[in-house]
């Protein structure tokens, strides 16, 4: 055994099959995966490849048919739904494509609620909320309802909610999937910024622009990992020469 700390997340032989009217769909077919502290991993692949199901398994939103999952070295196989709900508050923040904010609660309450549920004092919850909203550039929107905000703003509220308890792991399921290209760039910039401060992130997306913000990209096909690649951390000094942009005579 090495001295390095346990990975934030480790999965072994995860399998999950959906049973629908058209017969069984093998969404996740034996996935081994390990994510270290501070890593930013993107999972990409065509729609229907099972990447969202994989993310749901990693966050305990669905249970695998078989296989094992460890969070910070702790095996989660015996956890039931109630336990997962408690653990998710502290260990895992999740953002979704359609934000999933509580529509009749204010922005402030949406962000503070998970902090209060996790046992923070109201004062502390408010302080955390203030800091995150300022950081995400939506200070002043505290009393708005989610429906009064743009998609990009709602996703920032969702990001604040996901991060309010400082979870070691952030899971993001197509976080820019319902945003325009400006909103996409914004989400990309924010995820990169939190990552630079040490946040571990697992992102599922079909958008390669978003995926390229990560330092590791997993290509997911037909329920399996087809490729697992570290991206260059040092951009070439003359990126234009990469062949994307060619100077013709």
């Amino acid at each position: 055994m090495s001295d390095s700390p346990a990975p934030v997340l480790r999965a072994e032989k995860l399998i999950r099959t959906h049973y629908g009217e058209s017969g069984p769909a093998h969404a996740v077919r034996g996935v081994d995966l390990s994510v270290r502290h501070g890593e930013f991993v993107a999972v990409t692949g065509p729609s229907g490849a099972g990447k969202s199901t994989l993310l749901h398994l990693l966050g305990g939103l669905q249970q695998p048919d078989s296989g094992s999952l460890w969070l910070d070295g702790e095996c989660t196989d015996t956890w039931r739904e109630a336990r997962w709900a408690v653990e998710r508050r502290k260990r895992i923040g999740i953002v979704f494509q359609f934000f999933n904010l509580v529509s009749n609660l204010s922005v402030a309450d949406n962000v503070e609620l998970p902090a209060l549920l996790a046992g923070a004092s109201p004062k502390r919850a408010r302080a955390e909320r203030d800091e995150l909203l300022a950081e995400l550039g939506i200070a002043g929107k505290e009393r708005s309802l989610p429906g009064e905000l743009s998609g990009g703003e709602q996703q920032r509220v969702a990001l604040a909610r996901a991060l309010v308890n400082h979870p070691p792991l952030l899971l993001a399921d197509e976080p820019a999937g319902s945003l325009d290209s400006k909103g996409t760039r914004e989400v990309m910039r924010l995820l990169s910024r939190f990552h630079q401060r040490g946040q571990t992130i697992v992102l599922v997306t079909h958008d390669a622009r978003l995926a390229s913000a990560a330092d590791r990209v997993i290509s997911f096909f037909d329920g399996r990992i087809a490729d697992d690649a570290e991206l260059d951390s040092t951009p070439s000094r003359r990126p234009g020469a990469s062949g994307v942009l060619k100077l013709s005579d």
Partner: protein, 171 residues
């Protein structure tokens, strides 16, 4: 590059180094910077073809510099360039030829080829994203250039996915 230089000269007379700077300022860092030698060679050719005219300007402390301006036939050439739509960039694709020809050679596996190519595209995408963050915000042309390159890459990556889906079914 000859037509790009003609287009810059249509804005007004300039010497070689000014043209290099003009391209760089307009297009930003994502564009491979033309080397100044290449520019002088091209200017020489354009002059021989009568598309531009050069005039030596004396400088007191330095060697003469040559200032070029567009001629009538240069302007015609340029007008024809603007008139003409361009071919789409990807009619021939070397990667696709590798993919098509790999089976039976015993030298390459198609899925491995796809994975390698995907890594290449993803790294290019990452470099472009980084460039976009450092490029001057107000240089809209430079940002549009980067965005265009990223959209092309996105399409290439989508197409790799299609190749992979189809070829895995065959196996």
């Amino acid at each position: 590059m000859r037509l790009h230089l003609l287009a810059l000269l249509a804005r007004g007379p300039a010497h070689g180094y000014e043209l290099k700077q003009g391209l760089e300022q307009l297009l930003g860092s994502a564009y491979p910077q033309p080397n100044v030698g290449q520019i002088y060679v091209t200017l020489g050719r354009l002059e021989k073809q009568g598309l531009i005219e050069g005039e030596d300007i004396e400088q007191s402390s330095r060697p003469n510099k040559k200032v070029y301006r567009l001629t009538e036939s240069g302007q015609e050439e340029l007008r024809a360039w603007f008139e003409r739509p361009e071919d789409e960039p990807r009619v021939r694709d070397d990667f696709f030829m590798k993919l098509a020809l790999a089976p039976g050679t015993g030298l390459a596996d198609r899925i491995a080829l796809i994975n390698k190519q995907r890594r290449q595209y993803l790294n290019s995408m990452r470099n472009l994203s980084k460039l976009a963050t450092v490029e001057d915000r107000d240089n809209r042309i430079a940002h549009l250039l980067i965005e265009g390159a990223m959209l092309h890459l996105q399409a290439d990556l989508d197409w790799l996915e299609r190749c992979q889906e189809e070829l895995e079914e065959l196996e």
